[in-house]
Amino acid sequence: MQFDSMILTLILPVLGALLIGTMGSRWGRNSAAVVASGSIFLSFLVVLCNLWQAWPNPVARSVDLWKWASFTLDSGTHDIYFGIYVDALSLTLMAVITGVGFLIHWFSTEYMKGDPGYTRYFCYLNLFIAAMTLLVLANNFALLIVGWGGVGFASFALIGFWREKPSAAAAAKKAFVMNVIGDIGLMIAVFVLFQNLHTLDYATVLHDGLDTIRLDSSRGQWLPLVLLGLLVGAYAKSAQLPLHTWLPDAMEGPTPVSALIHAATMVTAGVYLLVRTHPLLELSPAFLQMVAVLGAITALYAAYCALYQTDLKRVLAYSTMSQLGYMFLAVGVGAYSAAIFHLVTHAFFKALLFLSAGIVIHAAHGEQDMRRLGGLYKDIPYTAWMFGIGGLALAGMFPFAGYFSKEAILHAAHGHIVLYLIGAVVALMTAFYTGRAFFMTFFGPQRVESPHLPGGPTVISCTILTILSVVAGFFAAPFARFLTPGPEAEGFEIHTDFTFEGIVITVLVAASILIAWALYGKGQPDKFGRNVTHNNFVRSGLQVDAAYLMWANGFRDLGRLCAKALDKVFTTLLPGLVGSSFWGMGKSLTETQTGQIRHYMVSMMLSVVVLLFYALLVGGGSLL
């Protein structure tokens, strides 16, 4: 078994989770927190070392650690290995996962202080990091599925962390079920891939084996299925239309969880998957087109719904959905570096927004409804500044990180005028709803009494994220160079030069923010939050969720009906029929037992006569 330093990033969180899970109750809360945060910090250091070595031109390496499974089919023996794939893409994502992950761990040490499930929380959090690491580092599709499922489970455990809360349990269930739908899609894709290529190794499937696929004339039969499966998996995991309804409900979990899983890392797994398999996607331009279009539509839908949300975290959830739509749009038009760049900057400022929202909620003693917040600038000004900077980054205001990554995407979408326009409109909507959330929370009359002030770890981790949100944008060019896999690779440029359209959009964004200030800066009543039919309709995500619920309930009712009716048939009717028919037969047979000698004699005699005649007629006398 070869040793690669990146294995440590896998081992450390697993070890952490195991230790906390088994010894947590004995060692105490502080130990749990230290073990958890420490393991992620060490993983982060390992990633940094690898990054340092790999910069600026990384050489992709695929390290097989041990043989996991071996299949002997007609076409020969095929092996699947447990191995890791270390290249620019996986290193980038690992940096985000471990870096932002560590900051969130640190934040949680203070944030989750009073919670009785403190140790359980850190155990699950480490477990999540472990699964996400596996997902990103896997060097073959089979291992990818393991990581994929693992993060799905961790998400379920963390969303439903407050087990006694029925809404949390329901949200966790919904998230898990939708994730499973994605899992099935992914699995079907992998099965078909294996059936046709007999290997699941990234190096083979995505590089060496591409020519084989191009020359395969029957690929029209199976390739679409593979691509569709990949898309279903990505859409479920990244909460894109139509498998998106779990994300807003996922806000039932603790806020740091929302920051980590539903902003920075897990939901980006879909983007990672598509960028990783982009050689396969490029074989079908129609699919890429579909990805871009659906991304744009999701971005628009989510931004529209975000306008009407009254819950602070839900605004951020829909915002995440919208930004992920941007990333998918980028992938669809072939701008892979732009998508990953946006993934990274979004991780920074969205985690920042969620964490500062966490500080706000803690300050407001658990209140999340923005209509009942306000005037918090006076109490937690520093948090307000951080939230503000994060918001500006999200809105895409120059010179924050979000500006550069969004510009990159819009620039890439330049050739597709409709997509470009949708992207621009979404940018404006983003600015507006972010401004609305900011002003409603921090300005206006104070509606929160004696707010609870944040402590050290929470503030410092947010500060780090703030700094990143400011400076990350300037590293666009070196980052693009880092990500480019080879000299002829297309789609790995990031354009950050100023264009006329870019300037126009930036001005419009600024205008949107100012409009939001005008509408909400003084604590005016919120038109979007009113309880009218249209508002409620949009707030509920255009009732997509309700439609799914009807569908699911339909099945449940059908099941109940079948259970009642079929049950009655199979347990009562049928056995009854069988039983009574046998009983009837038996009863009629007993009628022949009359006890009368003469009856028996007659039957005997008739039998003899019949036999006699049989012998005479059929046997022709020869039987006698």
Binding site: T590, Q593, T594, G595, Q596, I597, R598, M601, V602, M605
Partner: protein, 109 residues
């Protein structure tokens, strides 16, 4: 007529049939038993007839000896059976007023 089997066989068949009918239509157990004796006799007659008119065996007079021997055996059996059967009938019907087999319905069902 005495030298051909037809008459004897005719009688045998007739008596057998009469015994058969009598067995079914009579309800008195004793008469039923007598019908059984009729049937046995008919079969004895048939045995004798067949043996008498079969291919003659040199050295034996009157055909192969299977017929008479078997007739003898049947006679013995009939006697033994009559005794035992009547003993049973008497045992059953001793205490009843009606000597009627239709009254014996304990084995019904």
């Amino acid at each position: 007529m005495a030298n051909s089997p037809e008459l004897y066989l005719l009688i045998s068949g007739l008596v057998f049939t009469i015994g058969l009918v009598g067995l079914i239509i009579r309800r008195n157990p004793l008469v039923m038993f007598m019908s059984i004796e009729l049937m046995l006799n008919a079969s004895n007659l048939a045995f004798m007839t067949f043996s008498r008119f079969s291919e003659q065996v040199p050295g034996l007079k009157g055909g192969p000896s299977d017929g008479p021997v078997f007739t003898f055996v049947v006679m013995t059996i009939a006697a033994a059976e009559a005794v035992v059967g009547l003993a049973i009938i008497i045992t059953i019907f001793r205490t009843r007023r009606m000597v009627d087999v239709d009254a014996l319905t304990e084995l019904k069902g």
